[in-house]
Amino acid sequence: MTQLFALVDCNTFYASCEKIFRPDLKHKPVLVLSNNDGCIISRDHIAKSLDIPELVPFFQVEERVKQLGCQVFSSNYELYGDISARVMSLLEPYATAMEVYSIDEAFLQVQAEDYQAHGQAIKAMLWQNARMPVCVGIAPTKTLAKLANRAAKKIPRLGGVCVLDTPTKWEWLLARVPAKDVWGVGSRLSERLKGLHIHSALQLAKAEQKWLRRKFSVLLERTIQELNGQPCLDLELDPAPRKSIISTRSFSYKITQLEELKQAICSYAARACEKLRAQNGLTQDIWVSFEGFDQHRGRIVRQTVKTLPHLSNDTRQIAQIGQQAITELYQPGLRYKKCGIGLMDIRTQTYEQADLFNPQQSEKSRALMAVMDNINQRYGKQTVQLAGAGLQPKWAMRREYMSPRYTTRWSDIPVIRC
């Protein structure tokens, strides 16, 4: 039996998460805003049908949205993260191998007698167990599975599942899809393709591969092979550890005090170091930057890199050098919009060289970090933190419309009248 690729993609993921524990919103339009309540980043299908645009600044449409009776939410990443983990874990028995592609989509390698039925089973299972609506696209290659998924979303009579298992089926679809919607093509490349009279995905699939390869790249040639049902892209099962980790965010209002900047750096350093330790990494070079605004000079960006005496993943050490850096960069009189810290050139712990003559991170420090991570994992983020991050900081993100963290905090679980 042949194996095919299935792309399972959650429908309007953030908005759907918000609806799980709010049955009263079943027939109401729902919107989710980005960090700091800046832009609309997710709209459920009802909001889409009301022509509420995506990725526009919220304040521009706030009035209209409220008139239309939309329910608005700040992004609640703790909830979305938990629901995503559940969805991915529920999918595992339905695949022989699986790649979590993003927070709301996964590629599965699937094997079934009847792929249409398999896709429907996945869809029904996720609705029953997680109340998450999804669409499923199944095809011999990842690129075709992406297009199948898009078709499953756009063509209602497919019932949320689209299987492209024969050339007749995928060519029917490719003829109706513009080349720019093919995975890995994009609008810039598609403009150049138009010059060569390649408009639809089918025209791209039928184009002369070798000739296009010379003109463009080997990547495009691969895409063409994938469009013809020849798999070139495999599941990426083991993502490479990251070479650098950057933690930067905008403030909820413009801040002016050095003390507040130092608190922010300390708190971002803690997040970044947590990630660093999770991938078993060490760093020595710490990058720090800010973006501020001066009445006369306009936008001002400054950055610097500091080097630690030895490789480390100790939050205390990294936060301290980060604070030192921001103190040096600080200019009184500016209004600061954001700041960030980056851990550069990350090494894996096993490669760390024991050096008799240079100091290195002590066993004690490692043990302390492990205890900190354990506590924060068990009792929730920031249970234990450095005092330098400030308690209840004023600069923290604006989340005016945040929903409860229904599945990750005992104080937030839904209350049910009976």
Partner: protein
């Protein structure tokens, strides 16, 4: 059982000893060592399908008769198919509620308190079963769950 005469020209083939998988400390071994198991964990008892399980807190008195009181925490499993007699989380007119599911003689959601009438399930009512309640947890010492 078959024997193989060791070929003494190959020193490795001649000697084959079982490897100890356990760390052996010098001194007297603990007699309890063979009996150490994981400690009991309430999740094992209450949460059969963690990915499909969620928790809710009760308010209201309609289920007192079966021992569900305000403030109790219910363990709800969405993966289970609801049967006649199950305690379920249902959505009635866009609101969650906890009731007993009756499929005979006619489909209905029953309260366990005479002050609350049954809710009939028919074409006119919009009722959806959201999960099966598998356990109820009550605090007798007024202790609340501690969050991080």
């Amino acid at each position: 059982m078959s024997y193989k005469v060791a070929d003494h020209t190959d020193p490795l083939a001649a000697v084959s000893l079982p490897m100890s998988m356990e760390r052996v400390a010098a001194g007297f071994p603990s007699p309890a060592q063979d009996y150490i198991e994981d400690t009991l964990n309430l999740n094992e008892l209450c949460v059969r399908h963690p990915d499909s399980t969620f928790y809710v807190r009760v308010s209201g008195n309609s289920m007192r008769g079966i021992g569900i009181y305000p403030g109790d925490v219910l363990v709800v499993d969405r993966s289970l198919r609801a049967h006649h007699g199950d305690i379920v989380i249902a959505v009635v007119d866009g609101e969650f509620t906890v009731k007993e599911l009756a499929l005979q003689p006619k489909p209905a959601l029953l309260a366990r308190n005479p002050d609350y009438p049954p809710i009939r399930i028919n074409a006119e009512t919009e009722v959806e079963i959201n999960g099966v309640v598998t356990h109820a947890i009550r605090h007798f010492r007024g202790g609340e769950f501690r969050d991080g």
